[in-house]
C-alpha cells in the first residue's frame, strides 16, 4: 500500500467518531442535493413540459399594446428623445387577417413542426344552475394536432368529434367538475358576449394537469366559434410548434419582425415562472451549500486538531525522509477520504430517498395537479453531488495539511515534543 494512504488511513482510523460525524455531514449534504434537485427539477421540468405542450411553443397574437411614441417617431425619426405623458391608443387589431398566408409562409420552414389557427373568446357556460366563465378555443383538429399535443390530454381521444358534430365541445376537467359534469354527452348552455345562447354537447374532457388551464379551457370547432362570436373567417391567434423548444424565442423574434404581429415564445409567456424557478434553485442550492460548508468546517476542525496533536509524528516523519509534499498528501488524503466516503454514503442515501419519494402516493393540487412527487432522476445529480463533496473536503483539509508540511522538525525535537 502507498505509504501516504497507509499513514493517512491509520491516523483517520484513530479518530473514528469525529471522522464519522464529518462523513455524515458530507453524506447529508450530498443526499439533500440529490433529493432536492430531483424534486425541484422534476416538478419544474414537468411543469414546463406540460405548459409548453398544452399551450404552444410560440403564439402569434394580434398586437397587445400600441407604441405611444409612434407619431413622434414617424415625424422626427426613431432617434428622437421624447417623454410622452399621454396617448390615445389607436384602434387595436383584433384579428390576424392574412393568417392563411402566414401559415403558408412558414409551412416549409424546417424549424417548424406545425401551425394551427385559433379563435379565442370569453363566454359564460351554464349547466343546470351552475355557471362559469370559460375561455373558448376555436380549433381545427388536424392542424391542432400538428401544432400541439392536445390528444395526449383528452380522456377519450375524441377531438375529431368537433368536426363530425360541430355543436360539440371538449371541456377542461376542473371546469367540468365545477359545473357538475361527470360524464360526456351532457349538454351545456353557452352565452356569447353579444347575448346569443347556444346549446352544445360535451364530447370529451381535457386534463392537462395544469390547474389554471383545466379550470377555464373549452375546445370547440373553429367555424362554430366564429359563428357564436360573429367573427366569420376570423382567427386571432396562431400557435406554432417548433422542433427545438430552446430555439422558440429566436424564431418568435423573427416572426414578429416578419409578420408585424406579436409572436410570444413560451420562454416569454412563462417568464415569471422561470424566474421563480430560478430563485427556487438558488435558495435550495444555498441551503445545500450551507450544509456542505458546515461539514467542511467539521473536516477542517478535525484536520487542524490532528495537525496540532501530531506535531511529533510530523517531525519524525520528516526526519525519516518524508517530503513536505508527502506530509501534505498524508493529511489531504484523510480529508479526501472523508469526502469520498461521505459522497458514496450520500449517494446511497440520496438513491434511497428518491425511491421512497417516488413510492409516495398523494394528490396535490396547486399550480399543477399531480399524484405524488414527479422526480427528475438524472444520474448527473449523483456525479455533481460527489464532485461538490469531494471538492469541499479537499479544500477544507488543504490548509491544515499545508500547515503540517511547514512544521520545522528541529523546533519540535528541541522542545522535546
Amino acid at each position: 500500500m502507498n505509504s501516504i494512504v497507509f499513514i493517512g488511513l491509520k491516523l483517520l482510523k484513530e479518530r473514528k467518531r469525529q471522522a464519522l460525524v464529518s462523513v455524515m455531514g458530507v453524506a447529508i449534504g450530498v443526499a439533500a442535493y440529490i433529493a432536492m434537485s430531483s424534486i425541484m427539477n422534476g416538478f419544474q421540468k414537468y411543469f414546463i413540459k406540460q405548459a409548453v405542450d398544452v399551450n404552444a411553443h410560440i403564439t402569434l397574437k394580434v398586437e397587445e399594446a400600441d407604441d405611444p411614441d409612434r407619431i413622434l417617431k414617424a415625424a422626427y425619426g426613431s432617434d428622437i428623445i421624447a417623454d410622452v405623458v399621454g396617448s390615445k391608443p389607436k384602434e387595436l387589431k383584433d384579428k390576424i387577417t392574412e393568417y392563411k398566408q402566414i401559415i403558408k409562409r412558414y409551412d416549409n420552414d424546417p424549424r417548424i413542426v406545425g401551425i394551427a389557427p385559433h379563435l379565442t373568446g370569453q363566454v359564460i357556460i351554464t349547466y343546470g344552475t351552475k355557471e362559469k366563465s370559460a375561455t373558448m378555443l376555436g380549433i381545427e383538429p388536424a392542424p391542432e394536432r400538428a401544432a400541439s399535443v392536445v390528444d395526449e390530454y383528452l380522456e377519450y381521444g375524441d377531438l375529431d368529434k368537433l368536426v363530425s358534430d360541430r355543436n360539440s365541445i371538449v371541456i377542461g376537467k376542473i371546469l367540468a367538475r365545477d359545473l357538475g359534469i361527470r360524464e360526456r354527452g351532457k349538454k351545456v348552455t353557452l352565452v356569447s358576449p353579444s347575448g346569443g345562447i347556444y346549446t352544445l354537447k360535451v364530447v370529451d374532457f381535457f386534463n392537462s394537469g395544469i390547474t389554471s388551464i383545466d379550470q377555464s379551457r373549452v375546445y370547440i370547432n373553429l367555424r362554430t366559434l366564429q359563428a357564436i362570436l360573429d367573427k366569420p373567417n376570423q382567427v386571432n391567434e396562431l400557435i406554432i410548434r417548433v422542433k427545438d423548444v430552446n430555439e422558440a424565442d429566436v424564431i418568435a423574434d423573427q416572426m414578429t419582425a416578419d409578420t408585424g404581429y406579436y409572436a410570444e415564445s413560451w420562454q416569454e409567456a412563462f417568464g415569471n415562472f422561470l424566474q421563480i424557478f430560478k430563485m427556487q434553485h438558488w435558495m435550495t442550492y444555498m441551503i445545500i451549500f450551507a450544509i456542505l460548508i458546515v461539514s467542511a468546517f467539521g473536516i477542517f476542525n478535525i484536520m487542524m486538531m490532528t495537525v496540532l496533536e501530531k506535531k511529533k509524528d510530523i517531525a519524525i516523519m520528516k526526519a525519516i525522509g518524508y517530503e513536505d509534499s508527502e506530509i501534505t498528501k498524508i493529511f489531504v488524503s484523510q480529508g479526501l477520504l472523508v469526502g469520498v466516503v461521505g459522497a458514496v454514503a450520500g449517494s446511497l442515501i440520496g438513491f434511497g430517498l428518491q425511491e421512497w419519494l417516488e413510492s409516495l402516493d398523494f394528490e396535490l393540487q396547486g399550480l399543477m395537479r399531480v399524484s405524488g412527487f414527479i422526480l427528475d432522476r438524472d444520474p448527473y445529480y449523483f456525479l455533481y453531488g460527489a464532485v461538490f463533496a469531494i471538492t469541499f473536503s479537499f479544500l477544507a483539509s488543504f490548509y491544515p495539511s499545508w500547515r503540517a508540511a511547514r512544521l520545522f522538525p528541529v523546533d519540535i525535537f528541541r522542545s522535546g515534543g
Binding site: 499513514i7 491509520k10 519524525i316 525519516i320 525522509g321 518524508y322 525535537f413 522535546g416
Partner: protein
Amino acid sequence: MILEGRNITKDLRENPILRGISIQIDSGDFVGIVGASGSGKSTLMYILGLLDEPTSGEVLMDDKVIDFRDKKLLSGLRNKKIGFVFQFHYLIAELSALENVLVPMIKNGMNKEEAHERCYNLLSGFGLKGKEDRKPYQLSGGEQQRVAVARALANDPEIILADEPTGNLDSKNSRIVMDIFLELNHKGRAILMITHEIEMAEETNRVYEIKDGLIIS
C-alpha cells in the same frame, strides 16, 4: 568518509550556537559527543543529520558536498542513509511496533514481503518478538526505545545519529540500548551519539567535548 562536517557554524537569532566545528565519521566509527546543556551538541547533530542548515560551512556525505537547497535530496538521504534515535521515542501512537518500523521502508519503496520480514527480524533481534502488533502505549519505555532503534535501522542506513538515546531510560534499559549500539558498531555500523552521561560516552571509540559551540577536546 561517510559523514563529514567542515567548519560548521550556526547562529540562532543572531546568537552563535556553533562556531566552526569540523568532524569526520567513517564507517565503523562510534563517536560520542558530550557537553553541557546548550553547548550546541544537538544542533550539530541536526545539521549533520540534514534536518537543519548550517549558517556557514559544509556537510559532506560519501565525500560529496550536500546542497541544502535541494530538499528532495535531503529527504532521500535521511530516508536511506541516516537513522535517527532521539531521547523520546517519537513512535506514531496509532501504529503498531511493526508498522512504526515499516514506515521508513514503505517510503523507500521496499516491497511488502521483504519489508515485513525485515521488520520482524529487527524487532525480534531487539527482544521484541511477539510484541510486533502492540501499540506504543502497550510497550515499556525501554521497549519503545528499542522499537525506535529498529525504525532507525529500517533502511539499513550507513550511520545512526542518536541524541541522548538513553536519556529517558532507567539504568537497566539504558544498558540494553547501549549494548545494542555497541553490537551494531561491532558489525561495522557508524554511530554518532550525543550524551551527557560520561560513562556512556566512554564506551564509544572517540569522544568529542563541545563547549560554547566549539570542540574543546
